[in-house]
Symmetry: D5
């Protein structure tokens, strides 16, 4: 089941550089593990912004919330979730 | 080069049924041809709305505008285009 | 799996009275059948508005879209869907 | 009498960890007591956000304000209240 | 129990003059009856707009919705309801 | 001459408790004096929010600005002023 | 007493040309009479829009509403009123 | 003196085809004459929308309003004007 | 050439009192000098807000930006500029 | 390929003056180098605001994101990117 997730990152300008570097490293590792597990099939940077548009593939709303709320950057992000359904014109659909 | 395109369809309630059916049939055929050509790799329905989120893969802004403005539903849609870039955490990139 | 659905109804002032009455009767019958089937466990009127807040209980985004887009009033409504997850303080959970 | 209450939590990133843990523990205990008392029949997490949608069942606007403004997280939340009425299609209504 | 109700009137420019005059006359009579009954203690015109701000005094959300949705102008209005509570500095309270 | 004034209070979470208590005490005394003077005939709490809706009765815009800008909480509030006129359906008018 | 009034004109594209010409002629005459009477000391066109920003000088909110609601274009305009007070840096003030 | 002008075109779906074709032909001729005169140095299509972003070079606000309000599409457009000044980092300035 | 300028002041609550007093004194002197020079013919307080609406009379966009960006309060203000043109109904024009 | 980029700068009022001066100097040098390289053909100040409107000329979305995200002021800016296409009325277009 697919969800469209938009994430806008707002890091405080005075964030401790070590905390920042560590948070970003953990974010990247966590994201890439979910991508390899097939839970996070697409992630794109929004051009010109510290934001991304992502597609998640999960079994339930609860699983999606558990995955997203464990993101190391979660406390620093505005997140909007849009549930996606099959489009009747999709050539890849059944 | 990828673009995120959100399309919201607003058909007039009093649209002639034949015009409506013909427009929708041409829209579907046009969309599916672009999908098969690799120009429109993803199309998803936004759950609960007469809207879609799509990803286009084109060579330029001009090509994208030419493709989108030729959609049979173009006069009936609100369209928002967001240019996408490679995300540094994308496991499929480089 | 629960979804929060807000529906705002906009009927044209000059709608044919018979079409209007028939559409509303079919909407009510359809809604009540889904309520009896357990798919639509809650529906509330927003005080002072021709709008409702509803909770749907479905197996997937696709099922939700299929149910909502078949509403007789669907062409006359603005609809916003919010996916819901279990709250960690919910005494009914776990 | 039912009210729809949406709560968005905004904790300062530099909040003292002990104050934070204590506030959250008191919030949970307070919320669960109101749920057990039948004043707060539903609480759902908004997927992907530090927010909830709740239904309160109270005797008056004054009682609702007294309950909500005593939430330990009240100073850290944006709150929107929508009064709910019986929907004429509700199969559970008289 | 008090509610703040803002009503914005949007009459179609091509409304039949007799229907318009009749609707406005019934609206005025209905409003003044509710005012005399004590259900609608205040009504003010918003300066420069075809809008009003009103205070209703009712026993429940259901009563408020029943009163407001029976307004002859209801199909032509955008309406926003805000539940009011006693202010702790109100010299008339307690 | 009546004005509708909406005030949203935003106190900094780290405000000194003594300054806060003193400011609130002065705000209450100032507000109640204006109420007793007939300048501030109504004040209501917006249910669930640290906000109020008030009606002021003053001789001029200048008097209203002088009264409002002297509120001890003025530096901490977002304030919106709407001038009110007599409604033609008001049974208390004329 | 001064008020800032912004007016946005929305004439229907299919308005009868004679009605349109007559309405605009009456609007201009009415506006110029109020300007000559000193009630409407300033009127400016917003560059690039069918809108104006005006300053009215009236004795009360009721007088302002009476003047504005009698504008021949009133049914075709969105109007926003902002009450103005003396600025403490105004060299023309006392 | 430069101005940034954004124009969004909204043609009625039921516009007479001859009127439409004639209006668009006159719009194009008028726009191209102003471009050749140096008054309208840049015009770009917003990708995916029936909108443009333009730069005008005029002697005054009055000249800009006269040019823009004479556009054949003026009654069908939403227009936003932003005055531009020299940027201190512009290598072409000074 | 006239411009409508709206300025909203946001001073930090913890601003040093001496810096604050000095900034406000310089702002007032600067504003009054421009008023006396005829560059700033009108300044009004928005009733109930720490905001003003002003009219500037300058030779160009560049001159306006230079005047406004030198305001001592510039770093603390949200500013919106609207270019004004002659209104065809203005009795003072032509 | 052209892109319209709007940048709004928000420097913290308490930014260290040396850091500020150094950041601004590096921003100017970086911007001017891109201008000289033909990547950034236009930059205009928005009159009355600490903002600019720019036109970038790049080969791809990725190149644009790389150029913009390396701006020394990037952490302090809100940035909006709009892809531009050739306008059919542009006299400079083929």
């Amino acid at each position: 089941m697919l969800f469209h997730v938009k994430m806008d990152v707002h890091l405080p300008p005075d964030m401790d550089p070590d905390v920042r570097a560590d948070t970003l490293a953990r974010e990247k590792a966590y994201s890439q593990q979910l991508q390899r597990d097939g839970k996070w099939p697409h992630i794109w940077r929004i051009t010109g912004q510290y934001s991304n548009v992502s597609i998640f593939d999960v079994a339930s709303n609860d699983e999606l919330h558990q995955l997203v709320s464990n993101l190391p950057l979660f406390p620093y992000m505005d997140i909007a979730v849009t549930p996606l359904a099959t489009h009747p014109s999709d050539v890849k659909a059944g």
